[in-house]
């Protein structure tokens, strides 16, 4: 991908989960790290998220899950991504998950998972390293 272009990330929550502190903090810190962040916020549907990702031509989709809804919504989001040929977009998730679910989420199509208690640097580093591989 073009090195001059800023990495573009959409950060969002799906469904009714109202724990938005993490999503907001990560959005701000990715911005500080030089990325362009579109914060969609709460109450999004898989369809709306993917439409935003397509319209904005993003490099990364960041999902925030804190209410045990990750296994319900992830397949729906991945399906929408496939429908819209977004195979080159990096899909990452943050929030509260049992360790057992992390391989399941990756199997479903999430590239990387950052649980509660993550530091910011590894997230930024991961995006920088993998966004180029994908695009």
């Amino acid at each position: 991908m073009d090195k001059e272009r800023k990495i573009k990330v959409v950060v969002t929550k799906v469904g009714l989960d109202g724990h938005d502190r993490g999503a907001k903090v990560v959005s701000s810190l990715l911005k500080e790290a030089g990325m362009e962040v579109i914060y969609l916020g709460m109450y999004q549907t898989p369809e709306a998220i993917i439409k935003a990702a397509v319209d904005e031509d993003v490099d990364v989709i960041g999902l925030s899950y804190l209410s045990g809804e990750h296994l319900i919504f992830t397949p729906k989001i991945v399906e929408e991504m496939k429908k819209n040929n977004l195979d080159d977009v990096l899909l990452i998730a943050g929030g509260t998950f049992p360790a057992e679910d992390i391989p399941v989420m990756k199997e479903m199509g999430i590239d990387e998972v950052f649980g509660a208690g993550s530091l910011t640097e590894p997230i930024i580093q991961y995006i920088h390293e993998h966004v180029r591989e994908k695009r």
């Binding site: 469904g15 009714l16 989960d17 109202g18 724990h19 938005d20 502190r21 907001k24 903090v25 701000s28 810190l29 709460m42 109450y43 209410s67 045990g68 809804e69 319900i72 919504f73 509260t96 998950f97 049992p98 360790a99 057992e100 679910d101 649980g115 509660a116 208690g117 530091l119 910011t120 640097e121």
Partner: protein, 565 residues
């Protein structure tokens, strides 16, 4: 020891003995409290502690109640060991309630799910995916009947956690179920969270517009004051605000600001402060800095006493007593090395007890991973029981009172909180600070600061930025799942109820609710009737929303089925 059991361990000679030596001589990198106060090496009688004892501190049970609201504190009664429970269907939650009662819990405490809090029925298109994920779904009175089945409501103290405007429905449901079973609601003991104003900061803004939050929150408070005198009609939730990353003094100042939104409204309605204030309660966080949390609680008690007496002219000492439950800080827990959370929770529970808590919820150690498993729930309850029965902390009221440090920190937190309250007052009061999103900006800025403190290592958390290790592949005591069939059955039961109930009777009840809301009356009596007619949370809240000019459905998908009225 067989070597093959310890494949990852290096030989003794290969270990980094230089680091070992450094660790031996290591001293703490900073001397600040969690909230950022610089702390001196030692506190002495010169640090104000002990000065004006009668005026500023006083014995427990005596104004300004800095040392506790009861003279003898836990000698008179332990705190209530009250673990929050909310999972899946009412039947699932009922089972867990039974389990914790069997193991020595002393207060019931159930929390409704995100769909109910949003004011959506289980069959709402947005609800179907998430029924029971974060609490119990309680769409209709039938659910409340299942949840309370066979429980002697005259013998228990039940904390009903519904924070949003749906707390109006919760109170209607609970009081109808109790009356149907022959109990006099005036004798019921317990509490309802009922703090819709704060809930806009927890992702429930569509359900909790500010005017409706104050109106409906105050309706519950007024109804309970008149009809259920033993009921605590709100627990203003400063815990949830603290979880966003704010500091201890901000927690108290913002919590009090929100409390005053309701108090001012109840006074506007003509209630006397001493008529209702004795039943006002708070939900407080206990974070990991033990002394700061104790000081915060002591400061809050003194500030509340003075606020009620000096600003509101309360005369009854009970109006001046800051009553509170503690929820140990969920946000202090991490998934890395998860068993460490048990230790964090124990320290936080200790702070609550040293602070003179009335009722305590200790988190499950698995809070940053999933809802508590049965084992995690039991561990949390056992943590409370070890505190209560083994450690001796119950022997004396306010054990840290008179500590030069804790008294000094109490003064410091009070000073900072009062400064913030003054700032809010100058902005035009808390309602205005909320309306202009001043409070949003404060909270957002603090949340970013907390993450940066972790990133820079200014704040240390074992397993996160110090003493890290490879992430575990499994959760130690297993994972709590919400049974999918419970959610599906719940949705189906709500659909069935809507097909079979007496529509004409319900329409009459909804019409009365709409009329009462339009006439500015308290909506709870009409909600009681609508609940009896099997009106659901979405229908009851939606009807009142429309009267106040909001969409019937907070998610703006479905229309009111009662519009032709």
């Amino acid at each position: 020891m067989k070597k093959d059991n310890k494949q990852q361990t290096k030989d003794m000679s290969e270990l980094n003995w230089e680091d070992y030596l450094k660790a031996y001589y290591e001293k703490p990198a900073s001397f600040k409290t969690w909230s950022g106060f610089d702390i001196k090496e030692i506190y002495t009688p010169n640090d104000r502690a002990g000065k004006d004892y009668e005026k500023n501190i006083a014995d427990a049970g005596t104004y300004p109640f800095t040392r506790g609201i009861h003279k003898n504190m836990f000698r008179g009664r332990y705190w209530t060991r009250r673990e929050v429970i909310g999972i899946g269907s009412p039947a699932d939650t009922h089972d867990r309630v039974k389990y914790l009662v069997e193991h020595g819990g002393s207060g019931l405490n159930t929390i409704t799910d995100v769909t109910y809090e949003m004011g959506l029925d289980a069959d709402h298109p947005w609800a179907i995916n998430e029924v029971g994920l974060t609490g119990v779904n309680c769409t209709s009175i039938k659910d409340m009947e299942t949840l309370t089945k066979d429980i002697p409501l005259d013998k228990v103290s039940w904390s009903l956690i519904t924070a949003s405007v749906a707390a109006t429905v919760t109170m209607a449901q609970y009081s109808v179920v109790a009356e149907n079973r022959g109990y006099d609601i005036a004798t019921l003991r317990g509490s309802v969270q009922n703090d819709p104003v704060h809930f806009r900061y927890c992702g429930f803004r569509p359900a909790c517009p500010l005017d409706l939050s104050i109106k409906m929150g105050s309706d519950v408070m007024e109804f309970c004051t008149k009809r259920m005198p033993k009921w605590y009609y709100t627990t203003v939730n400063m815990y949830d605000l603290r979880e966003q990353g704010i500091t201890a003094p901000q927690e108290v100042a913002y919590g009090f600001g929100i409390a005053m939104c309701y108090i001012d409204e109840l006074i506007r309605r003509g209630l006397d402060i001493d008529e209702f204030a004795p039943r006002f309660t708070f939900y407080v966080s206990c974070h990991i800095d033990i002394f700061e949390e104790v000081a915060k609680i002591r400061a809050a008690r003194r500030m509340w006493a003075r606020l009620m007496k000096e600003k509101y002219g309360a005369k009854d000492p009970r109006s001046m007593q800051f009553r509170f439950a503690v929820h140990t800080a969920g946000c202090s827990l991490v998934p890395q090395q998860p068993l460490n959370n048990i230790v964090r929770i124990a320290y936080e529970g200790l702070a609550a007890v040293l602070g003179g808590v009335q009722s305590l919820h200790c988190c499950g150690y698995d809070e940053p991973m999933c809802l508590p498993t049965e084992k995690a729930h039991l561990q949390a309850l056992r943590t409370q029981q070890i505190l209560a029965y083994e450690t001796g902390v119950t022997n004396v009221a306010d054990p840290l009172g008179g500590s030069y440090y804790v008294e000094g920190l109490t003064d410091k937190i009070e000073e900072d909180s009062l400064k913030i309250m003054k700032q809010v007052e100058e902005l035009g009061g808390m309602e205005e600070a909320i309306r202009t999103e001043w409070l949003d900006r404060q909270i957002d800025a603090e949340a970013i600061k907390r993450q940066k403190e972790l990133d820079s290592g200014e704040k240390l958390v074992v397993g996160v930025n110090i003493f890290t290790s490879e992430q575990e592949k499994t959760t130690p005591f297993g994972v709590q799942r919400v049974p999918e069939e419970s959610a599906l059955r719940q949705v189906e039961e709500v659909r069935e109820l809507k097909r079979t109930r007496n529509t004409a009777k319900l329409k009459d009840a909804i019409k009365r609710l709409r009329d009462d809301a339009e006439e500015g009356k308290n909506v709870i009596p009409a909600m009681v009737d609508a609940t009896k007619a099997f009106g659901t949370v979405g229908e009851l809240v939606g009807t009142v929303r429309e009267v106040f000019g909001y969409s019937y459905d907070p998610m703006e998908i479905i229309e009111s089925p009662f519009s032709e009225n």
